[in-house]
């Protein structure tokens, strides 16, 4: 110990300075690496958050269109089949846009005036309710509901107005990126998957190949089922509403279809605007009750629960309600409204993958006696 101290003392100034510089340089290098790594991570994160939605939508679209493309592939080349499917899809989308545009314009023209009116009516109704409650239970403090409601409506309106150009830009970008990504996923998806599977080590290759196939098959069933279900529920609501005098029937149908992607809570959120508008515009008449019956009994119970879910969706992907809430809250935290819609399907997808792996493992866990059978390699 004393010897080493002696040695240290024998360091001259030049050596100490050198050691100091080396240490400083090392620390600086470390900091530089750390900061560049974190900025690199930041870059990756930004790229991921920007690409996440287009990638996800493209994957969903790929799952939807793949069966059609594969069927056409018996007669044409893969690329040719994709083009044919694209032309068909574009035609359908064009027709849908033609049909929707007048409703859409009408919607945007009137929503500015209508939203405060609807919220005002609801607040009035709530105020009456609270007043009657206050009469019966005087302990309840009286809130200034109308002022709060007014503030809330104004905030919502300004948010919608501020968001609209932004989301229009985003939607415009998606309209270009998503078909492009989908084209390449459709054309090269199998090759990409094969390349990924080929990375597996020899010993596990067989299992990875099997699992990738099983999980993909299960996922495409699930995604396809969910989308078809949402489209049909949206159509049923839109058609059912168009029998009444309610305004914005097609918009309400689309809203009900999109929210139907979220289990448990989605259908309830989907019916709120419709029932609200019916309540304000049409009063308590027969039309109002028809709309309530349409939303709850026809669209949800009859069409969705009795017809669509048993046919399209296996109960395997059912999630615990708590997990659904968790997915919605976490999704909302990460990606806002879109996150809320896609949070639950993403959790379902993870669950499907895990279940498929478990089933696969179980299939091969046979009693030892099976191994001593007569089968040769």
């Amino acid at each position: 110990m004393s010897q080493s101290l002696q040695k240290n003392r024998s360091w001259d100034r030049a050596q100490v300075a050198l050691a100091f510089f080396i240490l400083t340089a090392a620390i600086a290098c470390g900091l530089a690496v750390y900061s560049s790594a974190s900025s690199l991570l930041g870059l990756l994160q930004t790229a991921f958050s920007v690409l996440f939605l287009p990638l996800l939508l493209s994957l969903v679209l790929t799952f939807l269109l793949d069966p059609l493309v594969s069927r056409l592939e018996r007669f044409f080349s893969r690329t040719g089949s994709i083009f044919i499917v694209y032309i068909l899809t574009l035609g359908l989308a064009g027709l849908a846009i033609l049909w929707l545009t007048p409703h859409w314009q009408d919607f945007w023209r009137n929503i500015g005036a209508d939203l405060p009116r609807y919220s005002g009516q609801v607040i009035l109704a709530l105020k009456n309710l609270i007043a009657s409650l206050h009469d019966r239970i005087p302990l309840i403090a009286e809130y200034d509901l109308s002022a709060k409601g007014h503030n809330w409506t104004e905030q919502l309106m300004s948010a919608i107005l501020a968001e609209t150009p932004q989301s229009a830009m985003k939607v415009g970008g998606l309209m270009v990126i998503v078909p492009l990504f989908t084209f390449f996923f459709l054309r090269d998806g199998r090759g990409i998957m094969r390349a990924c599977v080929a990375l597996a080590p020899n010993r596990h290759f067989e299992m990875v190949r099997d699992l990738s196939f099983l999980v993909t098959r299960q996922l495409s069933h699930f995604v396809r089922g969910r989308i078809i279900e949402a489209v049909i529920v949206g159509l049923v609501v839109a058609v059912g509403l168009s029998f009444t005098d309610i305004r914005y029937a097609p918009m309400l149908g689309i809203f009900a279809g999109v929210t139907n992607l979220i289990p448990y809570i989605g259908p309830i959120i989907g019916m709120v605007p419709g029932i609200l508008i019916a309540f304000v515009d049409l009063g308590h008449g027969g039309q109002f009750w028809w709309i309530v019956i349409l939303y709850i009994l026809i669209a949800q119970v009859l069409v969705d629960n009795f017809i669509l879910i048993p046919i399209l969706i296996s109960r395997v992907a059912d999630l615990h309600p708590l997990l659904v809430f968790f997915a919605i809250i976490a999704g909302g935290k990460f990606y806002g409204v879109i996150g809320m819609i896609i949070g639950v399907p993403i959790i379902s997808v993870i669950k499907i993958a895990l279940l498929e792996i478990r089933t696969y493992r179980r299939t091969f866990r046979l009693p030892e006696s099976a191994l001593e059978g007569e089968r040769l390699y």
């Binding site: 594969s70 020899n202 190949r209 099997d210 091969f364 046979l366």
Partner: protein
């Protein structure tokens, strides 16, 4: 270029191609060249080092391997870890074909004896083909059924022969008990 040389060149290239290799396997021998091309895009070519385990008894089995080059040893391991050799397979041989249609745990282990190139065809590949090219997958399955049936017939003949042999050599007192 001299046509003779191009011909020789082309023939050599053909012999090295995967389609040529597949064509000479009994399972694919009756497939057309176009069908073989589709099969070629469905199979997986994997390179193994000498002494590498391909699978062990009890592993999930879901497909067959064809040997393109190298040697593979098929064996069973008993409780004392001694290996009981069942077969040594060489290029052109294939193994594991019974699990292609009926997934089951592997009943024996397989290990390479030298650097080996294997061509794998798995159940997932057949199922994928069945959706897209039903004719191709039925061609493969017919070939597979033919091979398995031939083996089954050979095995039953062998069993009968062994039974006969056993009957001839059995001492009378054993038969009584």
């Amino acid at each position: 270029m001299d046509p003779l040389w191009t011909n020789i060149f082309r023939k050599k290239l053909d012999e090295e191609s995967l389609a040529y290799f597949l064509k000479h396997l009994p399972i694919f021998s009756e497939l057309s060249p176009r069908t073989l091309q589709i099969v070629e895009s469905a199979v997986h070519v994997r390179s193994y080092q000498a002494g590498e385990t391909i699978f062990e008894a009890g592993d999930p089995g879901s497909g067959m391997y064809m040997i393109r080059s190298g040697t593979v040893k098929i064996f069973i391991q008993d409780q004392n870890d001694t290996e009981d050799e069942l077969a040594i397979l060489v290029p052109g041989d294939f193994f594991g074909e019974t699990t292609l249609t009926a997934p089951a745990p592997r009943s024996a282990s397989a290990r390479t004896l030298e650097a080996t190139e294997l061509v794998g065809l798995f159940r997932a590949d057949i199922l994928e083909l069945a959706g897209k090219y039903p004719v191709v997958s039925s061609g493969i399955l017919l070939g597979l059924t033919r091979v398995v049936s031939e083996r089954l017939q050979a095995a039953s003949l062998e069993i009968r022969r062994l039974q006969k042999q056993l009957g001839e050599h059995k001492p009378p007192e054993t038969i009584e008990t």
